[in-house]
Amino acid sequence: MERIYLDNNATTLVDPAVREAMEPFYCHMYGNPNSLHSFGIEVRPYLNRAMEQLYAGIEADDEDNIIVNSCATEGNNTVILGMYFSLLKETRKKRIVTTQLEHPSIREACRFLENHGVKVTYLAPDSRGLVTAESVAEALSDQTALVSVMWANNETGLLQPMKEIAAVCRERGVYLHTDAVQAIGKVPVSVREVPVDFLTFSAHKFHGPKGVGGLYLRKGVVLPPLLHGGEQMGGHRAGTVDVAGLVGMGQAMELAVTALDYENLVVRRLRDKLEDALLRHADVLVIGERELRTPNTVYASIRGVEGEALIWDLNQAGIAASTGSACASESLEASPILTAIGADRELAHTGVRLSLSRFTTEQEIDTTIAVLDRAIVRLRQLSTSY
């Protein structure tokens, strides 16, 4: 069976060009970049090139730092825990402002700090699913050390007004972090345009390898390392650099940025086609206005159709999608974004997320539409509530 992958917000395929760039660093140029000998010397130019690609990708200044690490979870923890040790623990700054939409690696790290006396505000989005700059401004006090707002939401693709939020944080002298995992490669991400202090990303969300990510630190910002040890990454993160991973991430970043126009035109058109097909069914609610979302994501609630049952049917046809609230998930509460935009609790169990990539074809979308149509009809026939 030919399979169709529409779960690109979970992870992506490694672009063959990325894999090709990584290949030499396993069996041939396997030196440790910190070594003095030729094995070390020969890999360093490739790492420098990868760093150039990363810096160019997010328009970072040469004086800024991009710490290469293992994943966005590590980056997010480095920021939250680092702020604790550098500011929250011993100065009068005792507060973090974040949102109810964040990834668990922000949410749980904040929860952990709450056990250590830090006060955390979790901002709710408005009825459009947005955390506005005004709501951030209102939540700030002179005790606030850090604001952390995700650039794009993983479930819905909703883009937060980072530029306005950054202006507020600048004006009030509060550090700003953004989890840009779902934004890179989908929309332009520039730390020059949007002056954040910290930004996290992960290669496997933009057709790079799993297990490698990055943390951007604005020039002059002090943050203690999460991992202590050797002098790698200028002392910001100990541990031997994943050479192939970094080379792959650099290549993936360059390709992703180059493909932004394609993403915005072609991927968006395919996503809209899929979304329109879903909306032809009665009682389908798509979360978030199209213009406010990443071009690759649609999150739809289909009344009467339980989310996990729907992705079961899709999977039977070889189509990979994802559900917001699995039947076996830990909590039965609707996700905050659904509650915020006024979806009732019933809809919490009817969500399906379809996320495309630049590798998604028109034919795949057409096949998916046909399979979705059949599955919706079948499950509504079975359903008690439709």
Partner: protein
């Protein structure tokens, strides 16, 4: 278990082939109508269970021949995941041909066993077991409707774990008899808490009335109380109330008031009475800084009680008047 738990996420690949087959092609889905009932010569029963907001609903249709209470036909509709649909389908099938009484004895465990491919391999992964509970509940609902009785009369009492259908009594007995110290041990001995884990502690998949952590703490406390050596007959309790009051005042002066005075507080004896359980209730009032202090209702009170118990009688219980 650790090695097999570290890479999580496994769910669907643990379904039996029967579960997958019934999810794809349920055999008994659909509605039964009054016309169907008339044609078959029985009474139509339609039972609903669950709420869509909880993620699962099921509707069971029965046609029951009233002369001998045989279920002539059974179908269902379901808003739920694959496990919910497959187990409801199997449950409906198991109802057909049974009497209403026999059907009420079908449990989610029977349904799960019937969905197995081989006798020794579970049909669904542990965390999906609760999805079959609805199938069990809806039978009770249908039977209650048919008999026009309160559903509570058909339900087991004090079920702590719905997935494995374990009662409070079974869990208490297991803790006592096997001297269990952890919820993991309870799961090993009784299966309670081994499936969806909602009943283990608050904050799980769904809210429960009773949690294993609380039951365990209570039973362990009872056990340690019971196992502490029986005190000799308590001479203090035999004394007259006047002598008891004098002794308590003396103890307060000697051991307690000096300590409280350090923080600017004080304590007065209010009353002494025998409680129904045989203990001696000592009622006190706080003075000075102790009044309204959060610590005085917890830490200080237990300090006072402990001092009096040690000096006078283990039967003393101290409360704020």
């Amino acid at each position: 278990m650790a090695k097999n738990d570290l890479i999580g996420g496994s769910l669907w690949e643990q379904y039996s082939a029967k579960v997958a087959e019934r999810m794809n092609n349920p055999r008994h889905f659909g509605e039964l109508t009054a016309a169907d009932a008339q044609r078959l010569g029985g009474r139509l029963v339609i039972a609903n269970e669950g709420a869509e907001s909880c993620g699962d609903t099921v509707r069971l249709y029965w046609i029951v021949r009233e002369s001998d209470e045989h279920i002539l036909a059974a179908t269902f509709k379901s808003f739920g995941c694959g496990t919910a649909i497959a187990s409801t389908d199997m449950m409906a099938e198991m109802c057909i041909g049974k009497t209403v009484s026999e059907a009420t004895k079908i449990t989610n465990l029977d349904v799960e066993r019937a969905l197995r491919d081989t006798a020794d391999k579970a049909a669904v992964p542990p965390q999906k077991m609760h999805c079959s509970v609805m199938a069990y509940e809806v039978i009770k609902r249908a039977a209650a409707l048919y008999r026009n009785v309160d559903i509570a009369t058909l339900q087991d009492k004090d079920i702590v774990c719905e997935c494995a259908r374990v009662t409070l009594q079974t869990i208490e007995d297991a803790i006592r008899i096997n001297d269990l110290h952890t919820v993991e041990e309870i799961a090993d001995y009784t299966k309670a808490g081994a499936f969806c884990k909602s009943c283990v502690r608050p904050g799980g998949h769904e809210k429960r009335e009773l949690y294993l952590v609380d039951i365990l703490a209570r039973v362990r406390e009872e056990m340690s109380r019971e196992s502490s050596p029986q005190p000799p007959p308590d001479a203090f309790l035999e004394q007259s109330v006047v002598k008891q009051i004098r002794a308590i005042e003396a103890a307060l002066d000697a051991d307690i008031r000096p300590v409280l005075a350090r923080d600017g507080g004080g304590i007065e004896l209010d009353d002494v009475r025998r409680a129904a359980d045989g203990s001696l209730l000592v009622l006190v009032q706080y003075k000075g800084a102790c009044k309204g202090c959060a610590g005085s209702v917890a830490g200080t009170l237990s300090f006072v009680q402990q001092s009096l118990q040690e000096r006078l009688s283990p039967a003393i219980r101290v409360q704020v008047a």
